[in-house]
């Protein structure tokens, strides 16, 4: 009986630690975005931002999906360099959204590449909420 308890406790602890790592980074960012003026975050709004098409410098229409593919559980491909991008959905790629610094680094780069400006705290929070639900 005691052994069973230990086993159960171990399983629960493991489960908690694996989900906690995913949420620590994103919770930290949600809190930061709020402190920067964002209100609540909404996955539906995030989806609209993610799929919004804008004209790129080269003239073709672009959105996040241009490189990340329209199926988030699949690999994407960079439209210029051809670099393969691992799936964004945390359900198939557990490494996603576990590192706040990395998330911020790519938000900064990619918003600038697609929209020629940085994303607002509100946009970033909504996108993050949307991606976390995948």
């Amino acid at each position: 009986m005691k052994q069973l308890f230990t086993l159960l406790a171990l399983i629960v602890a493991l489960f908690m630690s694996s989900t906690a790592s995913a949420t620590t980074a994103s919770n930290e960012l949600f809190a930061r975005y709020k402190s920067e003026g964002a209100a609540g975050f909404d996955a539906e709004r995030g989806k609209k931002v993610w799929t919004k098409e804008v004209k790129s410098e080269g003239g073709e229409m672009m959105s996040c999906m241009t490189c990340h593919s329209d199926d988030l559980s699949k690999e994407g491909k960079h439209h210029k360099t051809g670099k393969l991008i691992k799936p964004m959905a945390p359900s198939v790629n557990a490494e996603r959204f576990t590192d706040a610094k990395k998330i911020e680094k790519w938000f900064k780069r990619n918003c600038n590449d697609v929209w020629s400006r940085e994303c607002t705290a509100q946009e970033k929070g909504d996108i993050l909420k949307f991606l976390l639900s995948k």
Binding site: H78, K80, G82, K105, K108, R109, N110
Partner: protein
């Protein structure tokens, strides 16, 4: 006369002793001079941040492939906002580590043979921003037909070193390690 011969013999013995440790190699001019197993190639990347940050988008080109003046231009905070058309911005600490690593291991600071040649080829004139602009690199690839590089769907450009140089990640670029995709018979 005898004394001089002895002295020479002693010098040679000392040189052989020093040169036998290849781990010591290439760190400075004197070790390079007495090293009999000279490093023929390019020093492979041995910095984690450099490997990870540069390598997350493209082949992490060893710093010994360009002179310091080129790295200074490329790894500038402002310049990275449009790095060959893409934003490659980094936080200050990471950028400093990568910048310092590239500067310390640039072509003219290295005693590896290919780096010496690149240093020589870029000594004068403007700093090249692309490795493919370096005279030595151009000359080395001069006689490869265009269809094997640009016209080759699995290569596409000279910039993808590791498409053909199978040991590029180890800093090895000699002919024996080249394998051009779709052209197995090329020599």
């Amino acid at each position: 006369m005898m004394k001089q011969t002895n002295f020479r013999a002693a010098l040679l013995a000392a040189a052989l002793l020093l040169g036998s440790g290849s781990a010591l190699a290439e760190d400075n001019f004197w070790l390079w001079l007495v090293n009999f197993s000279r490093q023929k190639e390019v020093k492979p990347v041995d910095n984690k941040a450099y490997q990870e940050e540069c390598g997350s988008c493209h082949f992490a080109y060893p710093p010994g492939l360009l002179p310091a003046k080129s790295w200074a231009k490329l790894l500038d905070e402002k310049a990275l906002e449009s790095h060959f058309g893409e934003s490659a911005t980094l936080d200050k600490d990471t950028l400093k580590e990568i910048y310092d690593y590239a500067m310390a291991n640039s072509a003219e600071k290295s005693w590896y043979k290919r780096s010496r040649k690149i240093a020589l080829a870029t000594e004068e004139g403007d700093a090249p921003l692309r490795i493919t602009e370096v005279r030595y690199i151009k000359r080395k690839h001069h006689d490869i037909p265009e269809k094997m590089i640009k016209g080759n769907k699995d290569v596409k450009s000279l910039s993808y070193c590791n498409a053909c140089h199978t040991k590029a990640d180890k800093g090895i670029f000699d002919n024996d390690t080249v394998s051009i995709p779709n052209y197995p018979d090329w020599d």
